[in-house]
């Protein structure tokens, strides 16, 4: 067990006795002194106190009663706060320092050639039980005993180092000599592998997180193309993050896997993140694959364009594929300027033949047509400047390259080919905070060389805290969605009003709910709605309930093709 794995255990046990009551097994290379050195900084109790309390709680785990000799494989009982507090800090310091001095002498003079075995170590420990501890038990009052000499009065001899040196510590209880040959190898073994100033291992700064998700979609009706009503899927997200000790650079790697019961197009192996990030004063450079979010509104995300949408994951467009990029950020009083070079294009994920929420014709995703001859290798680039002016946040963005949103080319065979145009897009996002109100606006102007259009989302979010004399937070959302292309728009919101409410229980389970409806303002019979609710089952599990419905009587509406696809999704996410 490595030192830094021990540390959090030790700390949590010390200051919160309800936590893990023991730590270990301890490996031979660890000493309590090294723990102390690492933890000493600003720990609430002196580490001397902590060490002595540990030793008193675990007398069998320490070889020769020396705090620097932790028994290999020992499992230590963590002392309570009261037990630590009861140790006299000054006496503890003297004992630890005396033991260290002895330990150093052993290193200089002690026999080195012999190896040790765990059984020998055990015999030594058993032998030690006969000795009187240099420190009386806490209950008897540590401060009442005479101070332990800081240095052993008698120099240690190589033959029986631990015993001779320990004797002066307890002048009233002379120690019987211990001459069993097994004793020496055991001590040597401990010395050989322990260091007083061991540097943290690089893996100590590695964070590893995994998430396993199970989702079951239950559709109200059979699909327009007779697709099944139940669709199950499994997904797995792994995250590794490592940061240099001086925090000047970091690595992130995060693969994602998804398997679907029905729709082969929902199978996915994706690298959500795989990048190196380095930063200096006022700048930041990122190389690799990452996800970037731009924007402020809730009902749709017009400005957000760097990453491709993982549409089959969720039709709300908030799930994204990893995007290869070189990103350079400059920040300071002038604001924040982000520059992106995007050397590779990812196609949107779209449902397959057996998938739900799809167009009536089959999309041949492997035959995508690109406006650029460079196809997916076209180098896109993007800029975003953002500034916060007191209660106002403004972002201005520009993108030039392959459209993230496909158009469709009908073929003679009755299929569709995705078409990715070359576009230029200007974006503006702004939000203004006024007391409990946040006013939000996103607007874009997009052109593909032949034509252009404008789109806008604007509205507010209003938050109420502690409604109905409870801890509940209640939020209201209203956003107007506009698209200058009208019914030809590829987005759902051409002239729609989104009204939503967000409810947070503020309970231990972190229960929350979002419900919203987007009503078409030109067609009173057309609307879509969503529900997102979730609650925590335990420290590792969150339960989710999501639902969508689509209502229209007009074949001209985008959602006409989704009119059979109302669904309820149950999800379990397991975090480990």
């Amino acid at each position: 067990m490595r030192l830094t794995q021990l540390l959090p255990l030790l700390c949590s046990g010390l200051f919160w006795p309800l936590a893990a009551a023991e730590l270990g097994p301890v490996s031979a290379k660890d000493t309590l002194w090294s723990l102390a050195k690492a933890a000493r900084g600003d720990a609430p109790y002196s580490m001397y106190q902590v060490i002595i309390a540990l030793q008193q709680k675990n007398p069998r785990a320490f070889i020769g009663n020396n705090v620097h000799h932790v028994q290999n494989g020992a499992v230590l009982q963590i002392p309570t706060t009261a037990e630590i507090a009861a140790v006299d800090p000054e006496l503890a310091r003297q004992k630890v320092e005396a033991d260290e001095q002895l330990w150093r002498q052993l290193q200089r003079h002690g026999p080195r050639a012999q190896g040790g075995s765990s059984s020998a170590t055990n015999r030594l420990i058993a032998g030690q039980q006969k000795f009187v501890s240099p420190f009386p038990q806490v209950q008897t009052g540590l401060s009442a005993t005479p101070a332990t000499p800081a240095t052993p009065a008698t120099p240690a001899t190589p033959a029986t180092p631990a015993i001779v040196a320990a004797a002066p510590a307890v002048p009233t209880a002379p120690l019987p000599p211990l001459k069993t040959p097994a004793a020496q190898p055991a001590i040597v073994q401990s010395q050989g592998r322990s260091t007083t100033t061991s540097a943290p291992h690089w893996t100590d700064r590695l964070q590893t997180n995994s998430t396993l998700g199970l989702e079951s979609r239950l559709f109200a009706k059979q699909g327009l193309q007779q697709q099944a009503r139940v669709q199950n899927s499994v997904n797995f997200l792994q995250e590794w993050y490592w940061q240099a000790e001086d925090e000047s650079h970091s690595w992130t790697f995060s693969p994602y896997l998804r398997w679907d019961q029905r729709d082969a197009e929902r199978h996915l192996i994706d690298i959500r993140q795989a990048f190196w990030l380095t930063l200096g004063q006022g700048w930041e450079l990122k190389l690799g694959i990452d996800q970037v979010f731009w924007g402020v509104t809730e009902s749709q995300h017009l400005v957000d364009i760097v990453n491709q949408t993982d549409f089959v994951d969720n039709i709300d467009g908030e799930s994204k594929l990893g995007q290869p990029m070189l990103q350079f950020n400059l920040f300071g009083d002038f604001g924040n300027l982000q520059t992106f070079v995007l050397p590779y294009f990812r196609q949107r994920t779209l449902p397959g033949v057996n998938g739900r929420l799809r167009l009536p014709l089959i999309v041949e995703q492997d035959k995508a047509v690109f406006a650029s001859d460079d196809k997916q290798q076209h180098i896109d680039w993007a800029l975003r400047y953002a500034k916060q002016i007191d209660q106002l946040d403004i972002g201005l963005s520009y993108f030039q390259g392959t459209s993230r949103e496909p158009g469709y080319i009908p073929t003679a065979q009755g299929t569709l080919l995705p078409y990715y145009a070359q576009i230029k897009q200007w974006g503006l996002d702004a939000q203004w905070i006024v007391d409990s109100w946040i006013w939000k606006l996103e607007t874009i102007r997009r052109s593909d060389g032949q034509s252009h259009y404008r789109a806008l989302t604007g509205g507010f979010e209003y938050s109420m805290v502690g409604v109905w004399d409870s801890d509940f937070d209640l939020g209201w959302l209203m956003e107007y969605q506009y698209d200058s292309r009208g019914m030809n728009a590829t987005a759902i919101g051409q002239r729609d009003l989104f009204i939503g409410t967000r409810l947070a229980w503020n309970d231990a389970a972190g229960t929350e709910l979002l419900f919203g409806i987007a009503q078409d303002l030109d067609d009173s019979g057309s609307r879509s709605g969503l529900l997102e609710a979730s609650t925590r089952y335990n420290n590792n599990v969150r339960l989710r309930l999501d639902a969508w419905f689509f209502q229209t009587r007009s074949p001209e509406q985008q959602i006409w093709w989704l009119r059979q696809d109302d669904y309820l999704q149950l999800g379990i996410d397991y975090y480990f």
């Binding site: 010390l14 200051f15 919160w16 209003y462 801890d471 389970a509 335990n538």
Partner: protein
């Protein structure tokens, strides 16, 4: 009759004086204690800590949270804080950035790791619970003189320690409290206990601050804070495991770029 009137007037005069003089003195002494408390805690620059929160419901069932907090002292304004959530694991990686202010609402942002999104929060109302605990956001924000009107009430012994009892009335109309009573240790100006009174002036919560440790030879920090809600029976322990000072943090570690980087 005249005599009686005179006596009556004198009685009323004494009564008025008896009320008026101490009230005037109380406010001045209250501010003086608060100022001393604030002054003694100036100059710590920046700190980092690991904290465990133990939430307990009325039935005694517990759930825990693990958080890491970074704090930056800001002169002449509220401090800056960055909180990174480690547990429960479904919120791991979520981070909360707070620029607290004295004369205007705080600036607050939340980083949502699933969406890689920094979301600004309307922070006018800080009376809501922090992570479902009995601590409200305002309970955890930095102590600033501008946030309260002060009134010294009395001296009192608390567990054998001499304390000043000071009444604090929030200046922010959006505070969840009508007043708080604060027990300040007379020797080190450590806060040992706070009673929170709701808007209807009934006792809502009691906070006990324990296991004080001194850092940099000057600054006292409680390693255990227990908030008991008297109206719901729920309580929260805030247990700090490891505080470090002087890591050389700057404003750049407390902006939205840093929030996005936080892990």
């Amino acid at each position: 009759m005249n005599q009686l009137n005179w006596k009556g007037a004198a009685a009323i005069g004494l009564l008025l004086a008896g009320f008026a003089v101490p009230v005037w003195a109380d406010a001045a002494k209250g501010l003086q204690i608060a100022t001393e408390r604030k002054t003694r805690d100036e100059g710590w620059k920046d700190s980092e800590a690991k904290t465990t929160m133990v939430l307990r419901n009325a039935q005694g069932e517990e759930s825990t949270r693990q958080i890491r907090t970074l704090a930056l002292e800001v002169a002449n304004d509220g401090d800056k804080g960055l909180t990174i959530f480690d547990e429960p694991k479904d919120v791991r990686g979520t981070a909360f950035l707070n620029h607290s202010h004295t004369g205007k609402p705080d600036d607050q942002w939340l980083y949502l790791p699933a969406l890689k999104r920094v979301k600004r929060i309307a922070s006018r109302n800080k009376s809501g619970p922090f992570m479902g605990s009995e601590f409200a956001y305002e309970d955890l924000s930095s102590f600033e003189l501008e946030k309260f009107g002060f009134n010294y009430l009395k001296d009192e012994q608390l567990n054998g320690i001499n304390t000043f009892v000071v009444e604090q009335v929030p200046t922010d109309e959006f505070s969840g409290y009508s007043k708080t009573l604060v027990w300040v240790d007379q020797q080190d100006y450590k806060v040992l206990k706070i009673e929170f009174y709701d808007k209807k002036s009934s006792l809502l919560k009691t906070l006990l601050l324990q296991d004080y440790q001194q850092y940099l030879g000057k600054y006292w920090r409680p390693l255990k804070m227990t908030m008991q809600n008297h109206q719901t029976g729920k309580s929260t322990d805030l247990l700090t495991q490891d505080i470090q000072f002087g890591k050389g943090r700057t404003d750049a570690d407390f902006d939205t770029n840093a929030l996005q980087r936080s892990k």
